[in-house]
Amino acid sequence: MVLFFLVLTIVGPLLTDFAPDDYVGPRARPPSSEYWFGTTTFGQDVFTQFVYGLFPAFLIGLIGGGLATLIGMIIGFLAGYRGGIVDEFLNMFTNIVLVIPTFALLLIIAAYLTVRGFFVEAIFIGFTAWPWAARAIRAQTFSLRSRDFVDLARISGMSPLKIIFTEIAPNMMSYLVMVFILQFGGAILIAATLDFIGLGPTTGISLGLMMNNAVLWGALHLGMWWWFIPPGAAIAAIVGALYITNVGLDEVFNPKLREM
């Protein structure tokens, strides 16, 4: 599923000979062989916008999700491995960020930039979405910390950092991957929401923006379903697919979940 969309993202632009906001055809046309997803009230090709809009989704998922996971790892590892006062502090910090309704925060931050790009958006999301990862990874590290191979490393005078990255990290790769996937999906959702309420990027096209436009231009009332259905569906599909992939991995990694 994800792959399908990924491919679509890459080859999509080739499938269409329009630019996302060109006025290519008649206005408000339902899907047809010529305009696969129909056209907007301005006569822009929805399919074109759609395929172009996919890219930012992945970009943000990658950067935002990646960043979140990274921060989460650093904090999680440190807290989990060092324990004690460091843990106390980091944990408290995490909880604070966790409790603050980051989205509301995101709104304000987003509003702060007058001209926004996808990259910036991704960064913001990354910086607000990490606590989940941090908590999860911390817990994992905790359980690993006391394993004998870690003790062994410690005794053999390995530096904490080295231990973390040579002993602990590899032993929870599977877990990290899953965390990343979750963050990836999460980032896409947040981005879509931001875009939708008009606090997303002020340039370029994204799935969220498409929905935003669709609603702004009364696609609902004019019954132009082809304008607002594809973007949302795509997001749901992508993120849903990611989650399910995750379950897959999960079942592989801890047999307990596996159905016999």
Binding site: T202, V215, L216
Partner: protein
Amino acid sequence: MFKKITLLVLLIVFLFSGMAFAQVYERSETIYTTGTMWGPPSSWNPITPWAVATGTRGLCYESLFLYDPLTDEYTPWLAESGEWVSSNVYELKVRKGIRWSDGAMFTADDVKFTFELGKNYEGVFYSTMWKWLTDVEKVNDYTLKFHFSKALYQEWGNVMYTMMMVPNHIWKDRTEEEVTAGANENPVGSGAYLYESHGADRMVWVRNDKWWATDLLGLKPAPKRMVDLINASNNVSLGMVLKGELDLSNNFLPGVADLVNWGYVTTFYPEAPYMLSANTAFLFMNLTKKPMDDPAFRRAVSFAINVNQIVNIAYANLVEATDPTGLLPTWSKYIDKDVVEKLGFSYNPEQAKAILADAGYKDVDGDGFVEAPDGSKIELSIIVPFGWTDWMESIKIIAKGCQTVGINLKAEYPDFGGYTAKLYGGTFDMGINNFGSQVSNTPWTFYDWLFRTPVQAQMNNGNFSRYDNEKIFDLVVELDKTPIDDLAGMQEVISQIQEIQLTDMPAIPLWYNGLWSQVSNAVWTNWPSAAEDTPNYLPCTWNNYWEMGAVFMLCELELAK
């Protein structure tokens, strides 16, 4: 959890069910309007005109005169008559027999008081009037004399119908705070409607059956109630229009042309442009920056813009391209055809290129975009507020147009705040704006906004181009000093202004924003329209439009059979 709540509510309902239907509006007695309020009703204080709920000015509080732009006529309203008894003394007769909604009589004292609020409190928006108004003299209960240090006839004419009279006997005890920043709940006015209630998304007025105009002028608004809704979003109003739940919608609705054709709504004109024109959208260029400081460059831009495409695509023909002077149709008599003939412009890429070339702009580094004569690169951006979708579409087209003639112009959409900051602070390159070009009794308001002086760090409203030209400023003041009935005098000054304007082109008029007005005939009919057999007013609920005739519209509405 939720069940409990309902049960509780239901219980209370039972207790109160006595007053059940009292609060339900009879559709046939109610007019639903929208398009004015951008937020929940929050103020009924006519002294803070920008914040007031729809109808506060015009339906609740009233002005001395009404002015109808379509006929260019003043109608005595709270005033009975007014005339310049000398070059700088204006005598005003107050109409007898007018009562405030609390029963008190309306007299010269109220007028004097209202004017002097501006004298006493800086925070009153018309306080600056006292720079040229020296004294308001009460001759008797129904006569006043206004003495001027400098008689600005045009501006005075404007004041006559934009300034709302407030009751002296209620306001005189109020603090400056209350006057300049009070919400003035439960307003006591003289107008056709009384405050009934308001909610997060609406303002509800109920007809004042003791309205003075009913006895004195035989006017009676048809709808018993007026429910004005906030602009939740175009999309919501659109939905309501389609369902016939909205009688008059004064916001920009996408695809109105279709709605008209499908017979959901009617507009002032049955076909394009459908709407009357309300104001002029200008392309302001920041003259403090290169290369916008070069008249030739600006002129080139004016030829590079395909306004018709904007009209067709961004607006689906809901608007009209402007006259090169930018003057609204209602002011067409002030347009100097010869000047336009000589200096006018129209979409013509070739000519734009030519002008650029002649002025020494050529593409040196071969990136397809021209460099300035001094060889420096040109990279410009044009801004409109994010979310102002029609404008966003427009500047995309403008940017394209400029690029095709070799000007590297990008469209950008900052938030409203960023937009105003850039525009007012003079950090923008190009931008669209129309805040001050509203239809009024005189082109003076238009030019005063366009060529606002002096140019300073913050241009809070007007002359965003920062166009610094004493000559034109003087002409604007001269225009202001010309009596409103001296048409020739006005034309004379105005054509001089136009000559300079079109030569220097500090801002480029693009299109007339429509007086967005979609009406449904489902419940109410006899709406104003271009048709012969219908009334001919501005069908609009916006602030200041009631005084421009919209109040008559309410009186002439008829129930659909």
